[in-house]
Subunit: 266 residues, 3 copies
């Protein structure tokens, strides 16, 4: 079976950068099956990259090698790492980008990539995606054992989204992602909603940033409400989302990632 | 030979959604060759998706599995279907998205996907691309017979673009697509143009929405006119198009898909 | 080993055009490994396409077939060509798009594609990417010898960026590319900077268009300066670049490709 290497970056699709990484991978592991997860992560936004990676990575087969490059600290002392998680490998900078996904599976070990043998001969200070992460992923796909790449790392950066605070009839959470449809994804997980006995069909009050208020039905499908109307829904990532049927909720409310959100029974 | 599965959606390329679909496919059919047709279809625009799918699908080898997900009715009673056409398979929602392409080939049979065995264990109400269409396409690629997925469907949604009305020296048509270059694609097919004895080299009058008028030469190549000038041309899809040499005709005329167009001999 | 065919176009990712090319390739060479370099080249901008292709192509394994389609002269007398370079093949229009990359390797021979046998049966005047370049690349990947496609071409279009002018303490150059991060790439190569004894760590004065002046340190990594501050750096393509740490230098300075730049010791 061909080894799958996925790529997630903030490089965009105009430049040569993603192409160069794919060329490097195929030069080392001609049989690699390279799959793009996203190259449209907001520039330097590690949290957004971590969220998207964690949303996609679990759907790939075991032993997939996920390469993540959102790397504002490229060329500094932040370490290049490989994470061996229970199911998949993660290759990228030690800045938290990879840990959200890896911790969902459970982390077995983390290696500090330092063996120059598995990097390109000349390493730039600005493009470790091409010079370190791509060749390392390709060698890993070729079967090089993880301990070959460098020493074990005991301490590494983690990144996590704030946990919602749960009160009797009230949840305080945060907007963790806005998707391309304008769906507003909160950090409020399905189980939490159920815990305070809010079910699909019920109506809740959602307050953004102590200002904008919406009384919304928790729907099962978008078009339980009319076109252009707001709804709440447990989305495909099992988080509470606020949406507009056939519309863009985030634009309409002018809501950004990081916004505080309060959910109350009504 | 590796099975080809193509993807066409309105998901955009920022989010994890396309990546998740690819992960699901490769988990079931590791050998699938996944090819993106487009993920930049205008959100919820079934007609635009149908047009782009029908423009690309016929160029793929026989037995390609085309997955289309422009699915404003996700989570409702609209059915998930597989169409077996003369040449290719089409997998997606029963909302007309797939039928424009499938009818070009001729439809052999349509199956209502209902066998849970070929879906993900947990099916969301918001992301059937990942939970139903991706796994079904992968199982189909693995050789599962189409009748395994569910019962035959006699009635299904079709979608077609309005046919141009042909008079002696006049054709009334419609703008069906605006491409990324700003080329304005009409529903007026090459044969129709020839039928009213308008040939390349001839000059025609084109009127948009009863207002904007252009006297244009039907050219063979864009640069038969000077840079920045309008022309008419039979485009690569064999439809009459209005373009600007090295420019963006749709922007210049502020023309949108759906606009009425009248072509007259001059 | 599967043959790699890369694609670089100005088609964008919304339309069916890239998908149609991939379908054509896979119909002829089912085993091709198709890799996108970029489809977001500015419409009709041959120089930008040439730069991006030349930045990525050298990272691919030997005998990769690079297809480039930025083709404002499609349908005219400009010739379709194959370039056999020392390492890779290049397929596309004879307008200079391919030569920047091919000349970096050294050109062995150029063939004027004229054998209709290796094109689609019907050739449009507007989409040679689908009708000529895709099938030719696929047949080449299948092992058809290059001389089969047509006669040798002695004269072909070349494209090169202006060479910087080097004085004792002053270099006059040009902006050749602005990347998605807003990094401003000059045509001033690493060796030239070193030649006039400017090293990393030194400070230089950069003047854009005789107007905007910046006194900048040549850094090794972006965050040798504070967030939001300008720096100079030898980028991943070995050219002198002007950047903002965690910001967009080109937007801030409102600088475009083609701008003149003067570098002086201070």
């Amino acid at each position: 079976m061909r080894k799958i290497i996925t790529l997630l970056t903030d490089f965009g699709l105009k430049d040569s950068y993603v192409g160069a990484m794919k060329g490097v991978i195929l030069s080392i592991c001609p049989d690699a099956n390279i799959i793009d997860i996203s190259h449209e992560i907001r520039k330097f936004d590690i949290r957004q990259g971590a969220y998207v990676l964690a949303s996609a990575s679990s759907f790939f087969p075991e032993r997939t090698i996920h390469v993540g490059v959102v790397d504002p600290g490229v060329g500094t002392t932040r370490k290049p790492i490989i994470i061996e998680a229970k199911k998949n490998f993660y290759v990228g900078p030690d800045n938290g980008l990879l840990t959200l996904a890896a911790l969902k599976e459970g982390i077995k070990r983390v290696v500090h990539i330092s063996n120059r043998k598995y990097m390109l001969p000349r390493i730039s200070h600005t493009f470790h995606g091409r010079d370190i992460f791509a060749p390392v992923a390709a060698h890993l796909a070729n079967g090089v054992p993880i301990e070959e790449f460098g020493p074990l790392l005991e301490k590494y950066e983690t990144l996590s989204f704030s946990k919602p605070k749960i009160y009797k009839k009230r949840i305080e959470g945060e907007i963790i992602y806005i998707d391309g449809f304008g769906n507003i994804v909160t950090n409020i997980y399905r189980e939490i909603i159920e815990k305070i006995s809010i079910n699909e069909g019920r109506t809740i009050k959602i307050t953004f940033n102590d200002k904008t208020e919406k009384i919304l039905k928790i729907c099962k499908a978008y078009n339980e409400v009319k076109e252009g109307e707001f709804l709440a829904i447990i989305g495909s990532g099992d988080f509470l989302e606020i949406s507009i049927n056939l519309g863009n909720a985030a634009k309409k409310l002018n809501i950004k990632e990081g916004t505080e959100v309060v959910v109350e029974q009504v």
